[in-house]
Structure formats: structure tokens, C-alpha cells
Symmetry: C2
Subunit: 253 residues, 2 copies
């Protein structure tokens, strides 16, 4: 099993769009996939067609030791989902009271290690306890990045935060994949940022680039991944290509 964490404290860079469409594409390639929505905005949850507030939530698993299987839902799209819930907003205040709070998610995911090929985690746009818990549980960290000025600064901040987590916990988290999202080749500064990335992060940078594609932003209003809304769209094909690239990278060795 590979736990793939989609994180970036910069907002609106395509974390949810990547987590959802990657989960759909990996499951279309016959992998067993669990998508986990750690963001109290619940965007991945609603974009998967799930709109009810479940009776128990991931927070019950992390804090009250509820079995993790009790919060896993089946979706119509071949992947399973642990939905987000409103109580995630106050997760920080609740997690603080337990021992080694940011290590608990990793422990819980171990219990379902043999049930899935991939676990994909969608993070909120912050570096609070939930995002740190996800980073500590990750096998691979994928950073979606819009090619604009703020993203290079954000990447440096992300690196610094990961170093700080490693030095205080002894973990060895590192950024494994950088994905260019909403890429518009006509935009001069996007091309410049992209060239900077190729120069300084060639190893982590994905060959697949996700283009700006309106179908990706329309699909969530129908409660489905782009693969089920518009299978031929440029954005849909790009996420299928991403799944293929990651399968090649992580499974072929």
C-alpha cells in the first residue's frame, strides 16, 4: 500500500481537484483506492457525490478510538471515501489533549494496510495538526502547484516546515512529487515559473502537467470526478496520465 498525501498550504492550487481525480483515475486502472478528505470545507466529499453528515467521523477514530472501518463509505466511482465532517474545524483543539497527536493517523491507517493499493489524502490549505498528521503518515508527498509567483515562495515554506517536523519527530518526510496544475501555456509568468521548477526540482517534477480546463471545475457541481462527467476532456486525460506516471514510478521497481 502507498499513502499519497496531496498537500500545499497555499490555497486554491488544485489539491482537491488532484486528490479526487487521481483517486478516480487510479481506481479506473483497477487499483483499490481510499480517498480521505481532511479539509473541513468538505470539497472532496461533496465532489464525490456525498452530501450527508455521517453519524461518526474520522475525528472519532483519532480521538475516541472508533474502528476506522466504521467511517469508510463506498462511492459510486469505484473508490472508497472517508468523508470530511464539520467537527474537523475544531480538530486542533481536540487533538492537542492526546499523547503524540500527529502520530495517530499513521497508526490507524496501518490497520487497513491490506485493504487498499493506494490511500489518497486531501489536505486543508494550512499547516495545522491535520496536515502535519497526514504528512507524517505519508509514503509519498505530492505538492500541486500553480505556476505563479507565490508558488515558489510557498514551496520553500513547505520544505522548511517538513524539515522542522523531521527534526522534532525523527521522521524522514520529503517532497516526492511536484505537479504543475491549471497550466496555461499562453501565460508568460507561468512559463517562467515552470522553467525555474525544471531547473531546481527536476527530480521531483512530474512529466505530466495538468492544463487549465473548465471541465475540471464544472464536474464538482455534478458531484462526480471529471472521468465520469467528461471522459474525453483535456483535464480528465491529464489526470489519467498522472495516474499512469505514478503507477510506473511506484509499482514497476
Amino acid at each position: 500500500m502507498t499513502t499519497l498525501v496531496i498537500a500545499n498550504q497555499k490555497g486554491g492550487v488544485g489539491k482537491t481537484t488532484t486528490a479526487l481525480n487521481l483517486a478516480a483515475s487510479l481506481s479506473a486502472a483497477s487499483r483499490k483506492v481510499l480517498l480521505i478528505d481532511l479539509d473541513s470545507q468538505k470539497n472532496s466529499t461533496s465532489a464525490s457525490g456525498v452530501n450527508t453528515d455521517a453519524s461518526s467521523s474520522l475525528l472519532d477514530v483519532l480521538i475516541d478510538n472508533k474502528p476506522i472501518n466504521s467511517v469508510i463509505l463506498k462511492t459510486e466511482f469505484k473508490f472508497d471515501l472517508i468523508p470530511a465532517s464539520q467537527d474537523l474545524i475544531s480538530a486542533e483543539m481536540e487533538l492537542i489533549n492526546i499523547n503524540n497527536p500527529t502520530a495517530v493517523l499513521k497508526e490507524k491507517l496501518r490497520q487497513i494496510k491490506y485493504d487498499y493499493d493506494y490511500i489518497v489524502i486531501d489536505c486543508p490549505p494550512s499547516l495545522g495538526m491535520l496536515s502535519v498528521s497526514a504528512l507524517r503518515a505519508a509514503d509519498k508527498v505530492l505538492i500541486p502547484l500553480q505556476c505563479e509567483y507565490y508558488s515558489l515562495e510557498g514551496l520553500a515554506a513547505m520544505n522548511q516546515t517538513i524539515q522542522e517536523i523531521n527534526s522534532s519527530t525523527g521522521d524522514e518526510i520529503k517532497i516526492s512529487v511536484i505537479l504543475r496544475t491549471m497550466f496555461d501555456t499562453r501565460n508568460k509568468s507561468a512559463r517562467e515559473v515552470s522553467q525555474e521548477l525544471e531547473k531546481h526540482f527536476a527530480e521531483e517534477l512530474c512529466t505530466t502537467v495538468i492544463p487549465r480546463n473548465v471541465k475540471l471545475s464544472e464536474a464538482p457541481s455534478y458531484g462526480m470526478p471529471a472521468l465520469y462527467y467528461e471522459p474525453e476532456a483535456k483535464g480528465t486525460i491529464a489526470y489519467l496520465a498522472l495516474a499512469g506516471e505514478l503507477i510506473n514510478k511506484y509499482e514497476k521497481n
Copy 2:
């Protein structure tokens, strides 16, 4: 003095772009303006051309009672700035230890009440203690919104959070202004979301709409507001119009 808070827990909707360009436009209209960057990403700070880590920060003011004037910087663009600092990342953990932590910012801003016509606060994409402190200090709350599916859900969540703050503190915070940002008239779902907003939030909705305009995303890499980078650009003119609309709304009565 009017304290204008730019907030939305949804990421990448144009909070920083709005805070910065509104501060620049209000100061171009000869108002005395202070911009406060509450986001540890420091985007408003770097886009104002300030790149040094100051010796003391807003957190020192909130926690160690440092005088607020000691953290105010002059920028080259007629408005003053309280820059963000790296220590804002751990603000939550530090503020928790003081009495009534989310009321402190409002108190501190009272001390500079006669120095400015407007205080504009840029918030991080979360609803933690810093954003709540800003909302509690606000005279007017401005919500930038991209017209896409997730934004209507985000607006409902924002409303709910504000109700919760009001019921636990006795405050009477309300959303005063909703601003449509990065608006692309060719995008069908953007037009649909915009029509929904006109139907349900006619009173709060700004007449000024900010178009998607590449000059707005290029200006930050030169460390300046769009007004000083490309004064004739569509995006620049839209933010000048927004300043005019707010001056009319808040000063003419």
C-alpha cells in the same frame, strides 16, 4: 476609521490580491491606509516589496504587549504595512495561553484609531484564531469569491462560523461585502454562480466585479500592487472602482 477584513477559508480566491490592491487604491484616493498581513505565507508582505524578516512582529504585540507602532512599516506605495512573520505559523499555540485571545487584536487596533482612515486585513485560508481575531476586530467583512461550485458551499460555511462566533462572544459580526473575483464571462458555470449570488445576496454583492486579468498575477513578482505595475490594466481599474464603491458606501452617509 473603518477596519475592513478580507476573509474566506476557501483558498486561492483572491484575498491577498484584493487586500493589497484595495489598500493601494484607497491610498491613491488620499485615504490614510494600514495593510495588515495575518497570513504566515507572507504573500501581502512580499507583494508590497517587503522581504526582510522584521525584528519584532504582530505576535509580539498580541502576546508580549509590544507597542503596535513598533511593528508598522512604511512602504513605497503610500500605505503602511504590518508585515507577516514566520512565527504566525505557531500563533494558535501561543494565543491559546492568554485570556480571551481572539479579543486582543481589536483592542490593539483601538490604539491607532486616529492614525488611519482604513485598516485592511489579509487573512489566511483557515478559520483559526488569527482569522477569528480579525473577524472580531472588523467593522466590515469583505468576502472575495471565485464564481465556481465550491464557493457557494464556502459562503454557507463562512456564515455558519460567523454565527457561532457571535453566539459564543456576543459580537454582531456580519458579512458586509461579497466581491466576485477572477470573473471570466465566457465561463458558463461562473455566470450561473453569479446569478445565484445576485438572487440570494443582492444586498451584500458589490456592483464592481474583478475580471480575470494576468497583470494582477504578474505584479507580485515585481513586489508592487498592480496600480504601480500596470496602471491601465483591466484588473487595476477594477480595484480602483472597488475603492470608489466602498468610499461611497462607507463615507457618504
